[in-house]
Symmetry: C2
Subunit: 318 residues, 2 copies
């Protein structure tokens, strides 16, 4: 019998979402657990395996599952390990593919979460038919999935596309990776909140954000659409920096499109307009007006599940 | 009869070098003309065609030539045009492949000079056997040729790899491309001379460079090996900036090696040591100690000729 389903898992700094996917890219069932509740990787793997078992049983059992694909920050396609993840609760090198194989007796393949999103966009989303594009994930962190000549770029060690850790400002904000000035410290959801706090400290103008204890990117978004000038400037600043970074990415791989994916894209024109303007202002003449700036056409969690599940179909055994 | 030779042409801002190459990568004969002497692209093409005819006759005539490959700044593989080149005497879009076909009645293919160098390194040089590497050309300008998954990255429009125009310092030095702070304004031969002039203006310490009218990168090199502290610091500064840029390139495509090519590599340890130190200091932990920093194993002009000639073998007609 040909096995009709694959499983896609997206491991994020806050949540882990997973689903059973059929060959046509329909998500048959999905669920989520809190990544941040498990400081020990073994406890996490135990609970994730248990949750996967439940969802596997809803489609009739393991005999119907071809394989499992995982998208995770710092996920290494070649080794099946999550290596030195700055935004996950675990330290060191976590052999997550092997850990799930041990628990579920199913083959597991693993890659970077942004690479998984890129595969999802290419197969089911905004990048259908494109051979050269970049997916940028704007969530708790910032990630990149780069496709050139129709192939995902893994690099010699499986770690290509760490676009959240391109240095934007020398001696800029301290990053979870231990360095300074990474794109992620400005353009992630946490980076947006950080910009808001900086603006409030440095400036004296009124803002509804001044009344809040802990500012989140959602607070900044809500304030901005309600007309708060400072909150709007936070998005303008974030978009300016993203556009500058994109101008450099374009000089590197000259993609047909840069596709934005993740929570921050919910801010719509508030973020997209300044990104577009900054990108066009900063690219070399030969690139002007040529690179499409798109938002993912897939539902936020689905793209990562679908992309990861695509790995599940063409599995290698570890 | 199978045609035994291809021609490789490297168009640089100062010189154009070209040669007849056999299938095993031996350069049978070569010659050069001064690019900068021809403000009109048509005059240049006339003279280049005449010079090519001479070298073609030395191997028995056109019937022995399979095709011509050209490496040129801003050369577009897809269109065969040199488009808006900042460091060449000509403005606009120059259909150089067609111009040579018209004059010589031979098929011509064209790409970026740095892409041609990358093909040369992959076929005959330091990148033999590698599937993921970057060649950086350090000459009048700075260029990049990026290979991932064993393939050259051209991008959707043929203009990938413009690594000399990655922005290094926002609002930094004015670049020939019309923007500011490009890597090329610091790390090219002219960038090195510019750094020396800046240091001499800003500082008061003695240096043999103070006695010179027009400082070139060769002057800086000669002063540095003679022990001139200021000249040595010019190379340290240049290496620091290159290493910072390479740390970002590594986050992008995670190459097995970065291969330096061109005039500036003659400075040897003076430039390579600070580049290596800066690169290792600036990369993310997951990349530390993994990327080889190499110098081209091909003779300076040969790599570009060989790389361009490789295009000549697998020609498409325009």
């Amino acid at each position: 019998m040909e096995k009709p389903y694959a499983i896609g898992i997206d491991i994020g700094g806050t949540n882990t979402v997973f689903g059973v996917v059929d060959k046509r890219g329909h998500i048959i069932g999905k669920n989520a657990i809190k990544t941040s509740l498990y400081p020990e990787a073994n406890d996490y793997a135990d609970y994730l395996a248990k949750s996967l078992d439940e969802i596997i049983n809803t489609v009739g059992g393991k005999q119907y599952i071809k394989g499992i694909g995982i998208g995770a920050p710092n996920g290494n396609y070649f080794s099946g390990c999550i290596e030195l993840p700055p935004n996950l609760p675990w330290k060191g090198v976590i052999p997550m593919a092997q850990m799930l194989t041990d628990r579920l007796n199913l083959p597991v393949s693993l890659t970077n979460d942004a690479n998984a999103a890129a595969i999802g966009e290419m197969t089911y989303g905004a990048a259908r038919g494109m051979k050269d594009f970049i997916v940028i994930t704007l969530g708790t962190g910032v990630g990149g999935g780069i496709v050139a000549n129709g192939q995902l770029i893994y690099g010699h060690d499986g770690f290509a596309g760490e676009l959240g850790h391109i240095t934007i400002h020398k001696n800029g904000r301290t990053c979870g990776c231990g360095r300074k000035g990474c794109l992620e410290t400005y353009a992630s959801a946490t980076g947006v909140a950080r910009t808001a706090r900086e603006f409030l400290t440095e400036r004296a103008d009124t803002s509804v954000l001044r009344d809040l204890e802990n500012i989140t990117s959602e607070n900044v978004y809500n304030a901005a659409i309600a007309g708060d000038a400072l909150a709007q400037e936070v998005f303008a600043y974030t978009g300016q920096i993203l556009g500058e970074a994109f101008a450099n990415f374009i000089a590197f791989s000259s993609p047909e499109a840069i596709i934005l994916f993740g929570g921050l894209t919910k801010a719509g024109a508030l973020i997209m307009n300044p990104v577009k303007e900054s990108m066009e202002n900063n690219v070399m003449n030969i690139y002007k007006g040529k690179t499409k700036l798109l938002v993912s056409e897939l539902k936020e969690s689905d793209a990562a599940i679908l992309g990861a599940s695509a790995l599940g179909w063409e599995i290698k055994e570890f």
